[in-house]
């Protein structure tokens, strides 16, 4: 109950923030909210079933291009574009998910790696998507509007994850993560569960891509199907705590802040430090912030050494 009230207050505060902040802060806000949504969307499959998708950047690209094609080429309204993008992404999730979700571990992760490269190659050879030059969307100067849309999407995706964490469906996903063979013989239609999780993940990812496309007004294959975006989703979700409700959101807020602060100084140094943060985080807090919180309360600073002792050779 206390938790629910705190969460509602946090959302109200975030919703009111743009009316007090300056233009630059709002832009950082939009970015941070969209990233948090992407991390949360990745969490639905990656955190709950343990299947690490590197194909979410493909869903992001489809959301981006769906929106851009509808608005720039067909002159349809924004919401139609969003729907088209989301439809394409969910369709892709089903078509590609059915065969490759049979693969496990590394094989699944890397099979999905190929997805965005392949889609980017196709998109950059189609006239309707502006080939490799890209598309320009109609300009709208309403950053506060974009901010609130991004916040609404983050809230929607987090509510979805909240439901998953409490539902029979979510229990099935978690069982798959813990032991897929056991989950199967206990009556879980693992393929169906994984595909539905991938579809949900694709849906939120595509909408985030669509909002970003309309906000940024220019898109091309390289930025829409950017694999490093997917890697950031994974890192943010893992950093916060995969398979938790709020971990990915908190994790991505923190990392976005760190990254932006670093990027303002020198970009090469920022990337370098980012890489080091990943390495150190994997070594010292392999289960993310959420587990770190529990660990610190239980055993204090020994938590870090414990992790190394547990996982070293």
């Amino acid at each position: 109950m206390v938790r629910a009230i705190l969460l509602i207050l946090a959302v109200v505060f975030l919703a009111a923030a743009p009316f007090f902040g300056d233009a630059v802060m709002i832009q950082y806000g939009i970015d941070a909210l969209l990233f948090a949504t992407l991390a949360q969307a990745w969490n639905i499959l990656g955190g709950f079933t343990g299947y690490a998708s590197f194909g979410n950047s493909a869903f992001y690209g489809l959301g981006t291009y769906g929106t851009a094609i509808a608005m720039a080429q067909l002159h349809l309204p924004f919401w139609v574009g969003l729907s088209l993008g989301a439809f394409l992404a969910v369709l892709c999730a089903v078509v590609i998910g059915l065969p490759i979700l049979r693969l496990r571990g590394h094989y699944f992760a890397i099979a999905t790696l190929g997805l965005s490269a392949t889609l980017a190659a196709i998109i950059s050879n189609l006239d309707i998507s502006g080939r490799n030059i890209g598309l320009i969307l109609p300009l709208t100067r309403n950053d506060v509007g974009f901010y609130e849309e991004a916040l609404a999407l983050l809230v929607a995706s987090t509510l979805t994850v909240m439901w998953i964490a409490k539902s029979r469906f979510g229990m099935g996903l978690i069982a798959i993560r813990e032991d897929e063979d056991a989950a199967q013989v206990m009556g879980i239609n693992t393929t169906f569960y994984k595909v539905v999780a991938l579809m949900l993940s694709a849906f939120f990812t595509a909408i985030a891509g669509g909002i970003h496309a309309y906000w940024i007004t220019f898109i091309d294959p390289a930025s829409a199907f950017d694999l490093s975006l997917n890697v950031r989703m994974v890192i943010m979700a893992m950093f916060g705590g995969p398979g938790t409700v709020l971990g990915p959101v908190v994790g991505s807020f923190i990392l976005s802040a760190v990254y932006d602060a670093l990027a303002r100084s020198i970009s090469t140094a920022a990337a370098l430090l980012f890489g080091m943060v990943i390495v150190l985080a994997v070594i010292f807090m392999p289960r993310g912030l959420w587990d770190l919180g529990h660990g610190l309360r239980q055993v204090g600073w020994r938590y870090f050494l414990q992790n190394i002792r547990l996982h070293r050779l």
């Binding site: 050879n125 890697v231 994997v282 190394i308």
Partner: protein, 285 residues
């Protein structure tokens, strides 16, 4: 004749790809680590040979063994003091940490060497053989032969030496390694070092047939991965064949489908292979 030329180009480049993938396959097969920093090590090997050639005037082929030693040391240290710390952690964590290392190595290279394109051009860089109307660039032929020799050496090391037997035993079972009187932490580091040394050699050759920048790593990692899956983890020559297959497929795609598709082609093939192979044989990797 065009077709024959494409096949030869693909074959020669494919040998190099195969060598590159050998290092990844060794580490994957024995340590169960998919090393996403593999391409970055290839890139560093390329710079190593480049500077030995331009700075010290050493012939690039003669510089390969030196680059291999340097990369072995780097690989040994990385495994011993970083990767060994998390080796029993969740599988995704080993992917993440090697990704982090990839980022670190890439941007360190950018700070140290700048983002310029570097090509290794020895005096014989333009020399060709012509045989039945097909042109064979000498450097590419040399790279291909070197790849074959190194694959043969790796095979001999794994099959014929005590170290090789210990490595193969470790791939089956960590406890077995202890029976050989080898400290597993040490053996893991040596294996990773060997993988890095092979990557370093591949990087040197890559710098001779193409160009090196700090950013080539990711694409090379991806390629190595695809080839490793095709070739299987067991047999070095299977990996070389996988490399040749990808090399030829890329060369054909560049001519007959369009150059924008070369990167997508290996991934397209990978998807096909993964999906077509029965799921059971891919389990538990």
């Amino acid at each position: 004749m065009l077709f024959a030329q494409i096949m030869v180009n693909g074959l020669l480049l494919g040998g190099l790809y195969g060598l590159m993938a050998l290092g990844m396959a060794l580490v994957w097969g024995v340590l169960n680590i998919v090393n996403l920093a593999h391409g970055a090590v290839v890139m560093l090997g390329g710079y190593c040979v480049y500077f030995l050639f331009t700075g010290a005037g050493i012939d690039p082929f003669a510089a390969l063994p030196i680059a291999m030693v340097v990369m072995f040391a780097l690989g040994y240290l990385l495994q011993r003091y970083v990767l060994n710390l998390i080796i029993r952690s969740a599988q995704l964590n080993t992917l993440l940490i090697t990704f982090g290392l990839d980022v670190v190595l890439t941007y360190l290279a950018q700070l140290a060497f700048s983002a310029d394109f570097r090509a290794i051009n020895p005096s014989y860089a333009g020399a060709n053989l012509t045989w039945m109307g097909v042109t064979i660039p000498l450097v590419r032929l040399g790279a291909f032969v070197t790849a074959l020799i190194l694959a043969g050496l790796l095979w001999a090391l794994l099959q014929r030496t005590r170290l090789g037997r210990a490595i193969r035993a470790t791939a089956q079972n960590l406890v077995a390694a202890r029976l050989y009187g080898v400290n597993p932490a040490q053996l893991y580091a040596v294996t990773f070092g060997l993988g890095a040394a092979l990557a370093g050699a591949a990087g040197g050759l890559y710098g001779m047939v193409s160009q090196v920048t700090p950013y080539v790593g990711a694409a090379l990692t991806a390629k190595s991965f695809v080839i490793t899956i095709m070739g299987g983890l067991e047999n070095p020559f299977g990996i070389l064949l996988g490399g040749v297959f990808i090399g030829i497929a890329e060369a054909l795609a560049a001519i007959y489908i369009g150059p924008t598709f070369t990167d997508a082609i290996s991934f397209g093939l990978l998807l096909l292979i993964l999906v077509a192979r029965p799921a059971r044989s891919l389990r538990g990797a």
